[in-house]
Symmetry: D2
Subunit: 480 residues, 4 copies
């Protein structure tokens, strides 16, 4: 183990629930469930001459009873993993042996199992996402009226509120959530379709009865927990499905990336931080440093995940006819990677949003240094009210603003714009009048607080309400 590469997604970053979904056990027991579903459906649709209840009972009793060693031996011999497991399952089900995989092609178990795993994994992701949304919504609520500098070009602009800023991430998370919901709604099985999708063998089995074969396809899908199956397929379900799937996951990565980068900037500004981990130290030499390491990790993981859709576009777009196998190795790596990365990202996202630190005094300090600029429009209006020329006032204020801004940079002293204006005889307001104007800077945040309230109430809470049972279900503790 120390002499072989260990995949860090498993070793370091993800939850066992997700790791299990891409394990051998999950795969091979699900294959058996597919075989059982097929046999049951065939039986129910009238193949009672071939299949009987005893066989079905036998299969059901052995769904998780797998001799991995035997299967591996057989696979080495015949170089065919599905047939090796048909054989191994058969050794456990002597009665059913002959009808396991009846009329099916390998992709019957492979594709349907892939889709079942994806569905499970999407539900884990969905729950993770809801927990992030829940925590971030609470954060928005808590800080909905705490003014903070807005930034455009990463230069101070008008103020917004801490809560309002975080609704921007929330909106994007809702988009991600809705994508999952819509995708799950469209989610279909590959069903019972045959080698090139024509259901030829099944049609033979049912002696040309088209309707029964159609119902077989549907029935198998339902038994495996799907609403139905894709109406047409080649040998596999269309790899276009995989593109959509991974785009959803990459969408979550993108949201997480934007959030994490902002948090890393806020951390530099000393305005907002990841929660403290009690035993966390900065570098050994600089114990006081609170490096935003979880956000940095989230950034990197998200970057990798955002790189994966390209693989899936290319794989789908280069599938030839009913199927080529150049999809196999890459899907075998990329689908688990995509889900494990999402799992790792959401674990971090929940961890971070569980207890973010906000430094109110630092926020005030930042605002204070920009406040004089913000108040200039009010000064302008008041001066015009008092009879000054708008054109002139605009020029005068602009001149002093530019000078004050430059002075701050060149002299590293505090913003003295109001003093400059007070000293300028052209401006009809004195120092205390000017200072008074900066009094309640909440006024500059417009509807930020109200927007936050409205947004939470109308968009976020209904979803959280509907999904209460998912909240608090995800382990967000970190190993490293």
């Amino acid at each position: 183990m120390h002499t072989v590469y260990q995949e860090p997604l498993v070793g370091r970053y993800t939850n066992p629930e997700m790791q299990y979904l891409f394990s051998d056990e999950m795969k091979f027991t699900t294959w058996r469930r597919c075989w059982l579903a097929l046999a049951e459906a065939q039986y129910e649709l009238g193949l009672t001459g071939l299949i009987n209840r005893d066989m079905l009972d036998e299969m059901k009793a052995n769904l998780t009873n797998i001799d991995y060693g035997l299967a591996r031996e057989k696979e080495k011999e015949i170089r065919h993993d599905v047939m090796a497991h048909v054989f191994e399952f058969g050794t456990k089900c002597p009665k059913a042996e002959a009808i396991i995989h009846l009329g099916a092609t390998s992709q019957f178990v492979v594709c349907n199992t892939d889709l079942i795993i994806q569905r499970h994994a999407l539900h884990l992701i969905r729950a993770g996402l809801l927990n992030v949304i829940d925590q971030l919504a609470a954060f928005c609520e808590r800080y909905k009226d705490l003014p903070t500098l807005g930034y455009t070009h990463y230069q101070p602009a008008q103020p917004t509120t801490v809560g309002k800023r975080n609704t921007l991430y929330l909106l994007d998370l809702l988009t991600d959530f809705n994508s999952i919901e819509a995708f799950l709604e469209r989610f279909r099985a590959r069903g019972a379709k045959g080698t090139v999708g024509t259901q030829a063998t099944f049609l033979e089995l049912f002696q040309g009865d088209h309707e029964k074969v159609r119902r077989l396809d549907q029935l198998v899908a339902e038994k495996l927990g799907f609403v139905g199956s894709y109406p047409v397929t080649g040998q596999t379900y269309s790899r276009k499905h995989d593109i959509k799937l991974v785009e959803i996951l990459a969408g979550i990565a993108a949201t997480a990336h934007k959030f994490a980068v902002d948090l890393r900037l806020l951390s530099n500004l000393k305005v907002q931080e990841e929660p403290f981990a009690s035993n966390q130290t900065g570098s050994s030499a600089m114990a006081y440093k609170r490096n935003p390491m979880r956000s940095e990790r989230m950034t990197g993981l998200a970057r990798k995940l955002m790189g994966l859709p390209a693989d899936f576009y290319s794989t789908y777009a280069n599938q030839w006819f009913e199927r080529t196998l150049d999809d196999s190795a890459i899907r075998r790596m990329d689908i688990p990677q995509a889900f494990l990365l999402t799992d790792a990202i959401l674990k971090l996202f929940i961890n971070i949003t569980s207890n973010m630190v906000v430094y109110t005094k630092q926020i005030e300090k930042h605002i204070a240094s920009e406040l004089p600029f913000m108040v200039t429009e009010k000064i302008l209006m008041e001066a015009v009210n008092r009879g000054c020329s708008r054109q002139l006032m605009h020029e005068v204020i602009k001149e002093h603003s530019v000078a004050a801004g430059l002075m701050v940079k060149q002299e590293a002293r505090d913003n003295d714009l109001l003093l400059r204006l007070a000293d300028d005889p052209r401006i009809p307001l004195n120092g205390s009048e000017l200072t008074a104007m900066t009094g309640d800077y909440r006024q500059f945040t417009g509807r930020a607080c109200r927007q936050t309230e409205e947004f939470l109430e109308e968009y976020v809470h209904p979803i959280l309400e509907k999904n209460k049972e998912s909240i608090g279900t995800v382990d967000a503790s970190l190993r490293v």
Copy 2:
């Protein structure tokens, strides 16, 4: 013009309707529509002290009356395109001059206009897609029961039908179509949100009346043809929207790519071809060559389009706080490129599917050479019926199949499997019995024809029926 690079998407590949959507005229007249919508909404919501009907009429009368030279002059002077056009519009509207852009920030016109253009462009794409679907559906219907070799690993497998194969592309096109529909349904304006999204200036204009500002946002959106506006924004609408947009277009590219590659392979197989262009020649030296040049072009254009989502992921994920300007140049290039590429691809797709050529005799020849392999399972069953050992028959047939397959390659002679079987005394069927079995190879296509019928009826026709008016509206003639 001969001394400067000319963008080939405009010069060679696309329709004028799409080119217009990304023109200066479209942009600047839409800016004016945004200003008018804002002024109207402000007026209707009670800012009658500032705004009157005359102003609105004046603005309405000058929506398309633009002096581009003047605007450019002004922009050079003040280095601000929006303000230059505010000025230029003002020269046309002396009464309204003071209230144009009242309380707005640049992104009010820029973002809303972007979204309006996207919406128009999506409708063009939607129509193009419907026309492809319509033609391909007719092709499926026409060839629904023409058997053809299915391929897995690009090696002959069981037969399918020409129509059934093409339902695979159709299903993917429907996925693309549904993505557009779902996206258009969620489509929202950026609305009237202010510099950092807090609506601060509007709140001041309406003297703290939150409800009115909320209605302003909604009213403007409606006047611009939207259902509503995004509930929260920074300075711009979330760039996550752009990801979704471009993924839809790239999805169309992916479908087109798969289709085009298959057609290029079919062209080599002499089975199916692009329609003949009467004056098209192959290379000058090889006039007989029917190079699948449109499919090849479609492949290349699609490849480029599939490369664009990565840009949008990265742009969104790296936006800092309420907005950074690193989205500007790249969106200015990538959004038009994405739409123009889609336009070019659909133009080709419509052109190609309008009259594809199918070579029935070649198809038969291909099937004939594989038919002996296909019939082996039937032979096996019949032999078993006649009392032979299944195990032995399987071995015998396998042995001859492999030998016959190898002989075809090594000797380049016709498949002689049936002769080999007839000559083998272990096989209890004679030559004419064996040949008889290959009689109607339609039997090997299973439900391909029926699936095609069902799929067209249940999935495709309802959509075409609902969108009849879009069919036949797209110019698919090619310039080069």
Copy 3:
């Protein structure tokens, strides 16, 4: 013009020299140069029965004498651009008409011209790069000993110098420069290779004389300014060449991106800025804002360019056999885009580095707030020297450091670590001793200054020295 999409790379961002290289004129005159080179080489190698001096003179005299209208007419008729220009050239060269393009295939002119244009374009890029390097080297020299905070995790770490930090970009620029040099050294023509690369027609022309055909290939290459031609090709030169080409350009983009992002962060820190453009204003409402708009634009352009190599990988990897045409449309767009983007980026890069502003006082302020932390190691050592336990001192200092760091954030007051230490009786140094230790913070910058000097002298200056003539040759003024 106002009703059609205008490519912004041409309209807004690039220099005319680069725009010209991808113009029709450049392309079609270079085709003629290729035809002339071929005819000359054929003549020199003995095809004097077919070709004579008069013909060559006639061709030479008409290299730039192109009737574009006529060529376009002809192309419409025969749908073949190369043959249309053979025809058009022939109308200007009645004597040479029959031997223009003798034995050649379209890709003879197309590929060789592509390569000639790339070579020219690379030389423009090379010059641009040298100018950035030159300016950045001067900046490093100037600020080599100005201490500034180093950052890891975007949290203050040990100090470095402004000059030293900028050597990091310089090193990466040198890597880019060396990639160009190495690529130009390996640069070969496609030469005279024939339809599928076998030179069959040329071998016939030279009646089976292999050696002459080999020399033809070489001679044509030399006449077109190459060292030689690729030893083997299909119909075109290997598209792997294009990957390497675009990777070099994307490499420049990556360096520019890192630089630009750092500068945008520095701009927020008020530490360093883009040069002031005299007539530049911030937003209309906030005239004092110095938005780092050029760096932001550079970021976006670089992002797009970094996205292009994927297209070229995919194009090369999916070329089938001797050539498929799915490379055509995408190369027609992507190669000009890649060069124009690089041109735009370098134009900005030169503009920005021409006169960057450094705010020394702000830098000092930043350092001052971190200085107490930096001096802790010295305090520790001194305390140990005075007989204290290292273990205890480490704990004490860590305790106060963490508290001071937290206080700064929570209280937004100045770092009081030294006061805390002075007040702690366990620490054997008093306040003035502690303060004295922070005296010359240059001591904390280690070899930053010296590294800068050594690096400039050993790595940068030799290259600049060798390429003096390229310095100052690039127009870096911006249009918008």
Copy 4:
């Protein structure tokens, strides 16, 4: 193990040598080698007061003596992997304990170890590549004069030879090889640079002696097997290095992809195939099928690898200042993945090229069906020689060519062009004259054979000669 995701690159596709390079053992023993090199260099440069021979001997004796459990325990406690291993190493080296990692920062061991592993891995890749080149060169030599159809647009064009076609892959493989060589030549250590790259701590250790610190940097690099170290770094070596590294590997993937796709097409054409694996069967139902599964797998693996450079561009371009940690998780995954993918690809590439099957008779059949078209130019010339009008002959031949080409497709009969020409009284050649012209179709392959010989001799053999010892060293047997 059955309940957790297993990375398939390790489980299925790669060699143990490469897996080991990315193992814990390789990493942690190399860390120790770095610490030893540092201590030795410090000792040799005069820190004999701190360091003595005994310490060095102790360290040397314990390079591979690692208690992983203890290290993991410690890491859990202090959350710092490097410091945990400093501690664990210290328990084995009680004398050296205090001077392990003296003056170093974590990245001293981390970066240098990364580079050492990369260097080893590149040498494995280099050997793999040479073995592919060797085998493919032998294949080219063997089939240098076997004519085969060339394809453009995947439509038959002039013939080339099997050997010549394969030189195209060889040329691209040489490009890959030369990229490795050039990169290894530029390869440098990160050296001894300190927290932000200023070597501040080392300068203190050496009491301000710049020259000694410089030599320390160089000496450490040499002891670790490098020519020297990068002249300047931030906390880490520039991540631009990683881009170059992965581009080289992705370049190999691209070549492998082109090769594999061509082979999959050839396999359909029954012209060329992967070597037979004796126990390989097609699908269970179709034992005769020889699915090109290795080429398909190679295609998929290559696609994934070609997707990785984008991650590295983005990681480098978004590193802030001296270093941010968003490079950590992604490099931890992507660098091993890139190398393991390359290893898997080369393993397949060697396996496939070891014994490719060529079906000469099928090749002849393909040529025969196109031969009539190829001979038309000769017919034209002969007819002109016999006094016919070139213009007329061109028209007549074109007319019949197009008709014959169409007939082949429509009727699925053999090409009857020569019969058509013989029957046309305008053509002055009779049937046997026409047939005679197709006699030796080797004539149409031009210089294909000679080019192959020249290319092998001048470009390929010198490299193989120089690297004889690498040939035959790579295990290319496949597990699954």
